[in-house]
């Protein structure tokens, strides 16, 4: 499975969520086929909830883990 990682720390609100939503759409087929996994590095506290919620609403699996001073949100087809 190919992994694409986005470092979107420190960006203006709501850039973080917009980038995540855009990448969900771009990689829609690959995510559903299990060919790709998206990893978002963010320090935006609100998005640690909204990105996984949006991913789950679209039928994907989302996991959040703490990294040094930020959060890693991993989204895959599940």
């Amino acid at each position: 499975m190919k992994t694409i990682e986005y470092d979107i720390r420190g960006q203006i609100c709501p850039s973080t969520l917009l980038i995540a939503l855009r990448e969900f759409n771009i990689h829609q087929e690959a995510l559903r086929d299990g060919a790709v996994r998206l990893r978002f590095l963010t320090d935006h506290r609100d998005c640690v909830a909204t990105i996984p919620e949006s991913a789950r609403n679209m039928g994907y699996t989302a996991e959040v883990t703490r990294e040094q001073g930020c959060y890693l949100i991993e989204v895959h087809g599940g």
Partner: protein
């Protein structure tokens, strides 16, 4: 004796404001309670969950203020620096809405995000000061505009306009909002998966901020407000370069705040000019408190980091948004925190008009942000790590 009472009052103002700021900064950071985001996300994502908590905040403050008023704790009700509604409120609110979305946070969001290490918000803060300085140049014209477009001279609140006491309208609105809030609660609107350590649910943040607002009204004698301090900073900086211009400026010479402190009885005055007065004693500690409260919260969670790799387009947006917001907060007058957390709870006509302008402003700001700052076709520009 008078000097001693004044010193005590100033210490109370500064100490009280610092404590309230520290509390507000920590609460806002833990909950990421972004007032700008609430309005922006309504249009960008059709998201209303945090906007609902703003309703909770306003109505809770409304009940607390009215209770305090009935107990005689708010002798300056309706508060100083609220004026009769005018067209300036809606125009200022609209421009403010555009600015806060472009800046990525409102006047207080900028502070708590800056405290947590956001470079974008630090840039927006510079813009806020520049915008406040710019407004000083149109102050004489805009004061005339406000005078000519005032709707109900001498009437500040909706109950005053319709000629009734505030208790019945407040209870009616609170009852309607209570029914709405219970319905939202049953629908699970306030439920949220807490995914990160130290997270504070937005509805709890709303209630804590309502309490902080009440303490400000009782101890300081005014609701929370911060933007006059931005104008003061602008005045101080401008004075270094153009001292004669600042001395001649009608805006910097004006002293609109006059009130008797509710606890000590001291007569207080203040304005936007570069001098130490009651506004400086109240707002600078409040601003510092919000920044440090958020910074301490972020440090305790191990989340404080200064991010330097920000797309240039976003930095320009933050600066422009800050300038527009600083300008609009003087035009309105004043900012969203003052109107939403201080004016709407007393049903101030100016705050209702400001709110009316804020919605289209946030919509317009969202359009500008998505079309100019965050282009849809910019996937190749995304910061992708290999």
């Amino acid at each position: 004796m008078v000097a001693g009472m004044m010193n005590e009052t100033y210490l109370l103002l500064a100490g009280g404001s610092l404590a309230l700021g520290l509390g507000a900064g920590a609460v806002m950071h833990r909950s990421d309670y972004c007032l700008a985001g609430m309005f922006r996300d309504l249009f960008l994502f059709r998201r209303v969950d945090k906007l609902r908590t703003l309703v909770l905040l306003i109505v809770a403050t409304m009940l607390l203020f009215e209770g305090a008023r009935l107990l005689g704790l708010l002798p300056n009700y309706p508060f100083p620096l609220f004026y009769a509604p005018s067209a300036a409120n809606i125009i200022g609110g609209m421009l403010f809405g555009v600015g806060m979305v472009l800046a990525g946070g409102c006047v207080v969001g900028t502070l708590y995000k800056m405290g947590a290490g956001s470079l974008i918000s630090a840039v927006a803060f510079v813009g806020l000061i520049a915008g406040s300085a710019g407004y000083a140049e149109i102050f004489p014209f805009w004061s005339g505009f406000i005078r000519h477009t005032t709707f109900f001279p001498g009437k500040i609140t909706l109950p005053q306009i319709i000629g009734v006491g505030p208790t019945v309208p407040v209870l009616l609105i609170a009852a309607a909002a209570g029914v709405l809030t219970l319905r939202w609660r049953r629908q699970g609107a306030f439920r949220r998966n807490l995914l990160i350590a130290g997270d504070l649910p937005a509805w709890q943040a709303a209630l804590l901020l309502a309490l902080i607002g009440l303490l400000s009204a009782v101890v300081i004698g005014l609701p929370l407000g911060i933007t006059a301090s931005y104008a003061k900073i602008a005045g101080w900086i401008e004075q270094l370069v153009l001292p004669g211009h600042v001395a001649d400026s009608a805006f910097f010479r004006a002293v609109p705040l006059h009130y008797r402190h509710p606890l000590t009885g001291a007569e207080l005055a203040g304005g936007s000019g570069p001098q130490f007065d009651a506004i400086a004693a109240i707002q600078f500690p409040l601003v510092a408190g919000i920044v440090f409260g958020s910074a301490i919260s972020a440090l305790l969670l191990g989340e404080w980091h200064l991010r330097r790799k920000i797309p240039g387009r976003q930095l320009i947006s933050a600066l422009a948004g800050g300038v527009v917001m600083g300008f609009a907060s003087r035009m309105a007058p004043t900012c969203n925190v003052w109107h939403l957390m201080g004016g709407l709870p007393i049903l101030a006509g100016s705050s209702l008009l400001f709110l009316g302008g804020l919605f289209p402003g946030a919509w317009g700001g969202g359009r500008l942000l998505t079309s100019l700052v965050l282009p849809r076709d910019a996937s190749s520009k995304s910061p992708v790590r290999p």
